[in-house]
Amino acid sequence: MGRFIASENIPVLLTRLATDGAVWAPAELPDSGESVVFAPWQPGREVVLDRFTQMSPKELVLPMSERLLSFSYTLTMEGEEMEVESAIPGGHTVIFGARACDAKALVVLDALFHQDPETTWSDTQYRARRDDMTVVTIACVKGTADAACFCSSWENGTAEKAGSDVIIYPVPGGFLAEAVTIRGTEVTGWDMFDDSDQPLPELDTTDVVDFDGLVEKLVTPGVFSDLDFWGRESHKCISCGYCTYGCPTCYCFNIYDEMQGDRQGERCRSWDACMFYNYTVETSGHNPRPTIAHRWRNRLGHKFSYYPANQGETLCTGCGRCIRGCPTGVDIRDILRAAGEHE
């Protein structure tokens, strides 16, 4: 027996979820044309579940900018003392209306940022957020996927459940709900849900990039040794970095300090992008990845070769945001396919 929630009960569900913590749900950005982004939900705010969000919910685990530490200097009888404290985010977060690709992306990021501190480093702020989070995913049923989607390139495709607590499936009059985790069972047990014996609707399928043999090609020597290939394939790119900001799995960051007066301040981090020249330029002026060709080789290499080798996950979930949003029409699938055909 499944569970069903009527469309008019969605605000009831959101209100209940909001008693646990901050609920972020897709909403139309005011004065932005029709852009849909994850925004803090408040009673009365309309949730948009029939369009893709322009940005992924990544910012709820890795904010665009956030405080890492606070520090202060104090003068004592013994001399100057310095205190440094980690900023630890608190409070539950609910991501409502993620797609399967967005939820999977969280699991992909966990592979780096949420490793076992007994064996390696573990990110303080990321871990705090991930450990206190509910993810409600909306399934991509038939007719949802667009031309940029390519999650079916992976085994589970639109049926991927990793990262979701609950998956809701649009059906006439409301949504069928499937619990994935214990938290999911708790949520779907609430009384705004009813029992239902409706079968789950059929899911959509997307474009497929064939990864067979690709990982073997993305090596040195091999396609990585052919910089001309990367120059040809990335000739349209203007290095704007949109693809990295829109990406649910791109995580590179910069660290910088901000003083508040001259006795205290904060160390912060903000999103960075591997497509920027300044990302790798050294003080001497030397830049190990000086051209867009170098940076594309690294971007694709990181996603489809280095991260899989180091973290066991592809650093891409096929969400298509980099394709939909690229101002010059670069399509990562074209480059992947060309790399696969590289002799």
């Binding site: 440094v84 980690s86 303080t124 040195t220 590179c252 003080t283 030397h286 170098h294």
Partner: protein
Amino acid sequence: MSTIAREGVKATEPLRPEPATVVDVIEETPNIKSFRVVFDDPELMQSFTFLPGQVGQLGIVGVGESTFAISSPPSEKEYLQFSVMKTGEVTSALHELTPGDKVSLRAPLGCAFPTDEWKGKKVLVVGGGIGMAPLRCLFMHLMDHQEDYQRLQLIYGARTPRDICFTNDCKLWGEVEELDFITTIDTEHPEWTGRTGLVPHVLEEEAPDPANTIAVTCGPPIMIKYVLQSLEKLGFRDEQIFTTLERRMKCGIGFCGRCNIGPKYVCVDGPVFTLKELRELPDEH
């Protein structure tokens, strides 16, 4: 070969530095200063261990931090030394420091020279300019365990006599009979009576036998390039040659993304690499 030593960087708070205090500043050259620092937490200072080649994120909270090799040897328990060339924002701020000033430190980070695996071999160390910083630590560590190695040889070059770092150490090393130590400057100079010639040339003149020998080099990229060619000419194989790399780094723990060469992160998989390892990576040096 990545080693994670935990004193000084907490696994669950890897970006939080420990407060430390500058106890001594040594002016090495007109633009290089060595800073001797001590963790403010005496227990941490006492338990702190590291291996030669490992680095630290030294900085000033409010300005930022940068990656520097620890230039003092592991046997030095009184302080940790970092030798810093004034080049950018953080290094310029560090150069303003005087004893008593506070610094922030995350150390040790990165992996070390596998000195245990070198036991019974000859070790040839070839350094240039500020590249001597990690090599000073390594060389002093090797000297601490001299009986474990067949022979220790150091060739250290600088542009002019004034650019030679660690002059006191150089004097001491020059007096140790069992050591094969050569300092050279690039061209003749009125203040210099010692050897002259570019490091790769001196290396070829000395022509060390590659048999059962490990070669370690660090210095300006152009010097490294020619030293590697000279070593190859002398018959050294790629797996006998070690170097330690520098990169723009932020986090030091393999998270922020920028210091990778292919799948290897200089901050965690390095900074120490063999030439063999580097040849398998994309050409992004």
